[in-house]
């Protein structure tokens, strides 16, 4: 167990920070832990913001760990104290209202923030985002008197959920994306086409292959102009959902290696000893590609944070990594995207009624999957892929030691096998 007189510093108060503190205490670190939070809200889950904005959950449910988790873990929390400077060499940080804070080890868990494109009109007051509790409160308040028309830019997980909540409120929704299909990273174009058809059947207007160029606001509404089109989209409200960027502005990249996020190894150590990173700010191992990548998943952040905490407490622990995966339940359907669905050598497809499955193979190895309305197979598929990556010598139909898992996977494999192309 590592301990000296200086406290451990935790930057950020997301779920990775919670799990790190939990691991420190579970591994008998009894020294001081100081946490620097940007605001004063308890740990919240960004994924829940669209549920709150839609009125599906009460305000308290945005905070799954409750209000007192850090107090229970004996953590000193500095609210409204975003870290402004971090000196890795001197083991000192500066935060708003605090010039100098010395520490022994540090976890960077500052998460990510919404990315807005630099297009004219982006500062319009009719533009909303969906990431923070404030974003959710603002949209929920606005939805007390729903608008007639809404434009959602970005047709990935968040954009789709926002489109769903607007559509459910009777708003005429247009969903736009610069890519040629919805879920551009997670869905194969064939699978995306199925989703697009269903969205349009339910009355959602799609504008794909449409890069946003400028926004013009007037007293009544706004006009969004897209590249390659002379027809602007008129809307009362515009939701920007094109993604997030890691919060790393306080880090000197000359000290700690930063790319799209903070680079970490399997112990969650950064390039500088004593500094760890976890959650949406960190670039951990993508098991599929073997490269470092930000994989913004709640479970991934929790495991990373816990791993960091174990190692900070002196208990050598490794987290092999994660594969990109997501499940989105929206407008009466389940969409699952696992692994890499865009770079493959063989594809097997199957569908029956409202169920669709697409399995992607690279040189005989399962590398990706898309399903629609087959959530019960999602976990089996994901774990099959992970196991295959960890045990590459085994064939896809003989990876699981558990017969039920193998049986469920084989069922699906047999369905698509005859259709491999």
């Amino acid at each position: 167990m590592k301990e000296n007189n200086l406290p451990i510093a935790i930057i950020g108060n997301g779920c990775a920070a919670v799990e790190c503190c939990r691991a420190l205490r579970e591994h008998e670190y009894s020294g001081e832990i100081h946490l620097f939070a940007e605001g004063e809200l308890p740990t919240y889950n960004p994924m829940l913001t669209s549920y709150y904005a839609a009125g599906k959950i009460p305000y308290e449910q945005l905070f799954p760990h409750g209000e007192h988790v850090f107090a229970q873990l004996d953590v000193t929390v500095h609210n409204n104290s975003p870290v402004t400077k971090l000196s890795a060499a001197a083991l000192i940080l500066a935060a708003q209202g605090l010039d100098r804070f010395a520490f022994s080890q540090c976890l960077i868990a500052t998460g990510a923030s919404v990315f807005l494109p630099r297009v004219p009109g982006i500062d319009s007051r009719r533009i909303y985002t969906m990431r923070t509790v404030e974003d959710a409160k603002r949209l929920r308040k606005f939805m007390a008197h729903p608008p007639k028309r809404a434009l959602v830019v970005g047709a990935s997980m968040v954009g789709i959920k926002v489109a769903e909540l607007l559509h459910a409120a009777g708003v005429r929704v247009c969903l736009a994306d610069m890519d040629s299909h919805v879920f551009p990273l997670a869905a194969h174009p064939d699978c995306a086409a199925v989703i697009e058809r269903r969205l349009e059947e339910q009355g959602v207007n799609l504008r794909l292959s449409s890069p946003l160029e400028r926004i013009e606001e007037n007293d009544k509404d706004l006009l969004a102009w897209f590249g390659g089109s002379d027809h602007p989209e008129r809307a009362d409200i515009l939701l920007m959902c094109i993604g997030v960027r890691a919060n790393t502005s306080f880090i000197n990249p000359g000290e700690i290696e930063v790319r799209q996020g903070v680079l970490v190894n399997e112990k969650m150590q950064t390039s500088v000893p004593g500094f760890y990173a976890a959650g949406d700010v960190s670039m951990g191992n993508n098991l599929l590609s073997g490269e470092n990548q930000i994989i913004g998943l709640w479970a991934n952040a929790r495991r990373q944070g816990y791993t960091a905490g174990c190692n900070m407490a002196g208990s050598k622990t490794q987290y092999a990594g994660e594969i990109p995966c997501n499940i989105t339940h929206f407008m009466g359907m389940d969409f699952v995207g696992i692994g890499d669905v865009l770079n493959y050598t063989d594809i097997g497809t199957w569908h029956s009624g409202s169920q669709f499955a697409y399995l992607f193979f690279r040189d005989g190895v399962l590398c990706g999957a898309n399903t629609i309305n087959m959530a019960d197979k999602a976990g089996v598929l994901k774990n099959m892929m992970v196991k295959q990556l960890l045990h590459p010598q085994k064939q896809p139909d003989n990876v699981y030691s558990k017969p039920v898992q193998q049986h469920l996977f084989n069922e699906l494999l047999q369905k698509v096998r005859g259709r491999l192309k």
Binding site: P64, A299, I338, D376, A378, G379, V380, K382, Q405
Partner: protein, 173 residues
């Protein structure tokens, strides 16, 4: 290590008694859109005359390091400290299906209200000194409620017995 329910696959005959007992204990009505917590899988390997059929009664494994619990965005899935069972707070479940993507066994199912329905290890029965209903009813003792350490110990003894028997037989002959 807390106790859980385990299946001896060599004993399961796929009779379905466990499924019915579970539905009875937990008031599961499929006609009302509720889903059974247990399922019987018939796993065929090969064709007659050499092929085999294996039956597996499967429900939630109540994993020690539960992927569904870690993935749940609302904290609706939690571990009961007394029994070790992985339970669901229905009021907190938002029907996002994150647990379906996490579970390696394909266990999570959802009712008409999109709430997760799963085995609760008959926690109420356990806290009152009773066996889980599936274990209680199993006619072939395929399902047992035990700690994994004890089970492994039993298994080791069983193998040891087989080994000693084989050696004795060899010596006699």
């Amino acid at each position: 290590m807390k106790k859980s329910s385990y299946l001896d696959m060599s004993r399961c005959v796929g009779c379905g008694a466990c499924v019915v007992a579970c539905m009875d204990q937990n008031d599961v009505y499929p006609e009302c859109g509720q889903v059974a917590f247990r399922r019987i899988y018939q796993i065929e390997d090969g064709l007659p005359p050499c092929g085999t059929i294996q039956y597996v009664s499967a429900g939630c494994r109540h994993c020690e390091d539960s992927p569904c619990l870690i993935s749940c965005p609302t904290g609706a899935i939690f571990q009961d400290k007394e029994t070790g069972a992985i339970l669901t707070d229905e009021d907190r479940c938002i029907g996002c299906h994150s647990c379906a993507l996490a579970c390696p066994f394909g266990v999570p199912r959802y009712d008409r209200n999109d709430k997760l329905n799963k085995c609760n290890l008959c926690s109420v029965r356990i806290m009152n000194g009773l066996l889980p209903s599936c274990v209680k009813v199993c006619p072939n003792n395929a399902l047992v409620y035990e700690s994994i350490n004890n089970l492994m110990g039993d298994k080791e003894l069983h193998y040891l017995g087989d080994l000693v028997g084989a050696v004795q037989k060899a010596v006699k002959s």
